[in-house]
């Protein structure tokens, strides 16, 4: 039966090889687009590649990237987290409250040290993440609805904390023992801003978790086929819950960073950040259906969005056009994703026959 197939493949080898190259290019599209943008902007705007600008750029990117990395796990399970922007806003307000209002205990006002402020803020945000996870994993609410609900809840809570006002002067005071908070967002380590280090560290951890641990594999498995995952003994509910808690953790970091950078906490902070995070995840090639994608892709996606925004500003493109261009890029990215899926489907039959023919003959 091999005589049937052995004559054909040679004729198709060229077509197949070129299809593979195109597929490879499509798979690497996020990084290719990023390189293209870098080349383009540095050619058009000489200022673009200056160290000063790159430092500002990466600081911007770090915020989007932190959210995108957290969002990736949620999306990989087939979910979505619309609440991250609100959680970031809530986090900033909790930190602002603790730093400026302190905690009233027995008539006296205590000002917790900065480390405790940060930990309490993160805990508050994790609670919202846990609520997301519980709603999705245990109560069976659709992720879109569950996190849309917590989006409003967290934003409302942020507004309630200060009655809608801004907490200014988060610098704290040595006399209260709570000075030093701004360093969380403003300090440098080896000439690199702290938030960028956080992004690097978080990305490294997320990458290892996604690719090297059973948890990461379970995340992909649940997104690929939840029923099969359950049957394989995977704790589906716990894994899902953990992804929402992790996403909220990332949002908490973002909230703290922004509050520290501005030395002020405003309840509207983080509005529509969730959309940027989702855009970065999608640009990075993660399927919104779950089961396919990578943390690395999301990081690159965040850079694409960041570089695009920054570069367009430097070129003096109008703010309104920037929004349109961002939308176009996202739509193109999804289009290319479809193309990749189709091309893969076209190539698969070849791989199949090669495998089975050898096995059967």
């Amino acid at each position: 039966m091999n005589s049937v197939t052995s004559t054909r493949p040679r004729a198709n080898r060229f077509a197949l090889a070129s299809a593979r190259v195109v597929l490879l290019l499509l798979r690497a599209r996020a990084i290719l687009v990023l390189l293209l943008l870098l080349v383009l902007f540095s050619a058009l705007a000489p200022e673009f590649l200056k160290a000063n600008n790159l430092s500002i750029l990466t600081k911007h990117v770090a915020i989007a990237a932190l959210l995108a990395v957290g969002m990736t796990f949620v999306v990989l399970t087939g979910g979505i987290d619309l609440s991250v922007g609100s959680i970031a806003g809530l986090g900033g307000m909790v930190a602002g409250y603790l730093l400026t209002q302190g905690i009233s205990l027995g008539g006296a006002t205590h000002y917790p040290p900065v480390v405790i402020v940060i930990l309490l803020t993160i805990c508050a945000c994790l609670l919202v993440g846990a609520l997301n996870g519980w709603l999705v994993a245990k109560a069976g609410v659709a992720p879109f609805i569950a996190t849309l609900g917590t989006l409003y809840i967290a934003r409302g809570a942020a507004l309630l904390i200060s009655n809608g006002k801004t907490f200014p002067n988060l610098g704290g005071a040595a006399s209260r023992g709570n000075a030093g908070f701004p360093a969380f967002g403003q300090s440098f380590l080896l000439h690199v801003p702290t938030p960028v280090w956080m992004m690097v560290a978080l990305f490294a951890v997320a990458w290892v978790v996604a690719t090297k641990t059973p948890f990461g594999r379970h995340v992909y498995a649940i997104g690929g086929n939840e029923r099969a995952a359950r049957l394989a003994g995977i704790r589906v509910a716990q894994v899902k819950l953990a992804t929402y808690v992790f996403s909220a953790f990332c949002a908490a970091l973002v909230g703290l960073i922004i509050a520290a950078q501005l030395e002020a906490a405003h309840p509207a902070t983080g509005e529509s950040f969730e959309l940027n995070a989702i855009a970065a995840v999608v640009l990075g090639g993660t399927s919104l259906m779950g089961g396919r994608g990578s943390v690395t892709g999301s990081l690159i996606g965040a850079f694409v969005i960041g570089v695009l925004a920054d570069g367009l500003v430097m070129l003096g493109v109008s703010e309104f056009w920037q929004i349109v261009i961002k939308g176009v890029v996202i739509v193109l990215a999804v289009g290319l994703d479809q193309l990749q899926t189709r091309l893969q489907a076209r190539i698969l039959p070849y791989l199949t026959t090669a495998g089975t023919e050898e096995g059967r003959s």
């Binding site: 049937v4 099969a228 049957l231 995977i234 704790r235 399927s287 089961g291 039959p349 199949t352 096995g359």
Partner: protein, 525 residues
């Protein structure tokens, strides 16, 4: 089976010299297929032989690279399934396409709604014609029923009714019985016989040999994209078909395995009762007081019709369903029921019936699919996994070029073996299998049976469910028959017969003979 004479039957549809290429793969290589008027034209072939591709071309869902279609001698060009329907050709796909959220009549007229003044849907007319079509098939149903509430057998009838209402003269049925119970299949055969009498030409694809021989008038065998045999009913025998299909003689594989007597019991199930599904009007227990023992190295078959509780039984044992009462013990140790992890830790693992829905992770590689349920350390080692998976793949003859390829590149039989490999990676004491060879071709079937016998010989205890009498007989050392959630009979291997199994599985017969006589082997209850 009455003798059918075929006086120079007329060709109604011919696909001449059809070639269809996919990149690097020739699905059909100069295939000529003829369908004869008012006959049941059977197309047989292993998975991947090109049957479905050919059918999709005949149904207008795909276009051939070379070759021509002829309808009643005139060349026919089909661009879309609509063109095919306009020419009287309809297809009922294996995975039924029914819109489960719509009513029966809405399904029958989906995409071709009858309208008042070309604007508003004329529901009354649709209902009336749907009723007529269903009555014609001798399967009257309430056409206002939501299709999702119908059994698979009824959904199939609805699709056939749709084809009939379109005035189809040629009806293509792609593996129509793969999801049907024996009784549903029987009633489908009646429908086919009726249609044939009414002048409809049937093209029937399947690899269930006994039903093919029973139904077919003309046989065409495909292998690796080529026609390797054509015969009329008079010339087609089981052996001929198997040999043509697989390119080898039917093996002596079906030989009986020796039964393992008086070995220690591995699995003890007593008084297992399962609540009926929620919202079920019958509110009947899905399983009632099921008790049995399974010995080390034994292969126990669980036979029953659709809805008898086969799947419920193995799913309950695997921890997928909560149980109402009863106990499950492995080697005398009670296990936590209603928990998949509890069952896995006790050494019991389920290979599900529907591998696409419950088994495979389509986005992941063969390797990742195999290791998914295995115990792991905190950090995964790809190299170590690769080694284990390749070894297991070789043992199970998984025809994979590379274990890093997506699992979807494999044929159905090999995908099934990937699931088997996953189960074995858990080093189970008891392997539960729900329909172990569903959607698997004949060659791979025999191979899987061989592997299971080997595993049992090495001491693995296996419980499998099946709705196929042939499979039950080929594999089981002992058979439990389920009927309406109760064990209605138990047979040892030498007591097995088609009639006995079928009688014990059928509600009316079993009700009469229950308990009194139909337990020849003496149940353990």
């Amino acid at each position: 089976m009455s003798q059918v004479n075929q006086p120079a039957a007329e060709i109604i549809l011919e696909a001449r010299n059809i070639t269809k290429r996919y990149p690097g793969n020739v699905a059909l290589d100069g295939v000529t297929f003829r369908a004869y008027r008012e006959q049941v034209n059977v197309l047989i072939g292993e998975n991947g032989a090109g049957k479905s591709t050919l059918m999709r071309i005949l149904a207008g869902a795909e276009k051939a690279d070379e070759g021509t279609l002829f309808l009643e001698g005139r060349p026919l060009v089909l661009h879309t399934p609509r063109d095919a329907a306009a020419n009287g050709i309809s297809i009922v796909y294996q995975e039924l396409l029914a819109l489960t959220n719509l009513k029966i009549s809405e399904n029958i007229f989906a995409g071709r709604e009858l309208c008042h003044a070309a604007v508003l849907v004329d529901q009354a007319a649709q209902d009336q014609r749907s009723n007529a079509a269903l009555r014609h098939l001798r399967k009257p149903m309430d056409v206002a029923t939501e299709t999702g509430r119908l059994s698979l057998g009824c959904r199939q009838v609805v699709e056939i009714a749709r084809a009939l209402d379109q005035g189809s003269r040629i009806l293509i049925l792609d593996e129509p019985t793969s999801a049907l119970s024996a009784s549903e299949a029987e009633s489908l055969f009646e429908v086919i016989a009726d249609l044939k009498r009414a002048g409809v030409t049937i093209i029937y694809i399947s690899h269930r040999l006994h039903e093919l021989l029973h139904l077919g008038d003309r046989f065409t065998v495909l292998r690796s994209g080529r026609v390797v045999g054509e015969a009329t009913r008079a010339d087609a025998t089981r052996a001929w078909i198997v040999e043509r299909m697989s390119g080898r003689k039917e093996g002596a594989n079906d030989a009986a395995t020796a039964i393992s007597p008086s070995r220690p019991a591995v699995l003890t199930v007593s008084g297992l009762t399962l609540p009926g599904s929620v919202g079920d009007e019958a509110a009947q227990a899905a399983l009632h007081d099921v008790s049995f023992e399974l010995c080390e190295g034994e292969i126990l078959g669980v036979y029953g019709l659709l809805g008898a509780g086969r799947t419920e039984l193995v799913e309950a044992l695997a921890g997928l369903r909560p149980i109402a009462s009863g106990t499950v013990a492995i080697r005398g140790q009670m296990i936590r029921t209603g928990s998949v992890r509890g069952a896995l830790q006790a050494g019991m693992v389920l290979m599900p019936e529907d591998r696409q829905r419950d088994g495979l992770f389509p986005e992941l590689s063969i390797r990742e699919n195999v290791v998914m349920a295995a115990k792991t350390g905190p950090i995964l080692s790809r190299g170590e996994e690769s080694k284990r998976v390749r070894k297991l793949a070789a043992e199970l003859h998984i025809a994979a070029k590379d274990v890093e390829l997506p699992v979807t590149t494999l044929s159905g039989g090999n995908q099934q073996k990937v699931l088997l490999a996953r189960c074995l990676m858990c080093s189970p004491a008891v392997l539960l299998m729900d329909e172990p060879t569903r959607g698997v071709d004949v060659g791979a079937k025999a191979e899987i049976y061989g592997i299971l016998r080997e595993l049992a010989a090495k001491g693995l205890s296996i419980v499998f469910t099946s709705s196929e009498i042939e499979e039950t007989q080929a594999l089981a050392a002992r058979v439990l028959v389920l009927c309406q959630g109760r064990i209605s009979a138990e047979f040892s291997r030498d007591q097995l017969s088609d009639e006995g199994l079928f009688a014990a599985a059928s509600p009316s017969v079993a009700a009469g003979a229950n308990a009194a006589t139909a337990r020849p082997a003496g149940g353990t209850a």
